[in-house]
Symmetry: C2
Subunit: 192 residues, 2 copies
Amino acid sequence: MSLVLYDAPRCPYCARVRILLAEKGVELEVVEIDLSDRPAWLYEKNPTGRVPVLEEDGRPLPESAVIMEFLEERYPDPALLPPDPADRAAVRLLIFRDDDLTDPYYALRRGEDGAAEELDTVLGRFDTMLAGRPYLGGAEYGLADIALVPWFLRARDMLGVDLDRFPSLSDWLARLEERPAIAAEAGIVAAL
Amino acid sequence: MSLVLYDAPRCPYCARVRILLAEKGVELEVVEIDLSDRPAWLYEKNPTGRVPVLEEDGRPLPESAVIMEFLEERYPDPALLPPDPADRAAVRLLIFRDDDLTDPYYALRRGEDGAAEELDTVLGRFDTMLAGRPYLGGAEYGLADIALVPWFLRARDMLGVDLDRFPSLSDWLARLEERPAIAAEAGIVAAL
């Protein structure tokens, strides 16, 4: 079986897939895409021209949320979704509603008025959530953490957002960064 | 176990859940929401105030795409996703990108210039897709069909779009309407 990832270091959606592949120990070919000069053939693999695209045996699959589900099913070990359907649904809801986090993140990056306050409100909500449980999906580390951590790393290290104001969120991020897969991604962000 | 669906007949996202529950033979309590006067308590179950919301043992779950995955896992029989992860990913991609269909549908409903032509382009793409396979997910009926059929029914029966111009799409829709779960939904649309 051939497996190729079309990837870009600065893309947080790609980061999800990089982290997940590392957690699963999946080896594959990585093709780096220059986002400022996307090759024409990328649009044949994904009409939107976006990365990530994961290609198994020549069959291209775009959309990081869909790729994550695919990898979880194709490489079930270690399991990164909880066993119960209701708990799995709670994880999927966090991922489906990722724009709760990404909308204010991108607004801040564009320098929009009020964006810092809006992002702080969202960070506060995550802080409250993480005061009650060690990981976003509950007792165990998994897909919700992997799906959302790329924006927390970028908010802290690229936008200079002070996460120390959110102690449970900061503890969660420190816990995640003990994992080699997340530490590697933090290294990619630091080098951007 | 208690199971409640907060539902609205005219909502196509609710239609997905209604059809899927019927296919799975799941009995539950249905609470109809007046979309023109949403009750305040609905926002406690879903901060966006939208339906559908499926509530299992008092735990509310919004977002029809997430609810569909939940129902497929909680009530696995009959299976409505294909067995192979790559085929399942193709189904999920169609559902994830439902706005390819719903954006031009809503543009036409709002009477925007060029919307009819844009919707025709999309219908043509689905027609081409369905010329090569009997169902959106491949050889078998399943979640992709259920997720998208509500807009095809509404385009035909509420917006008066002539689907006979798309023969493979029309055949697919006729095939679907032989199923009691889809026929029941077509009846709901006809009564709107």
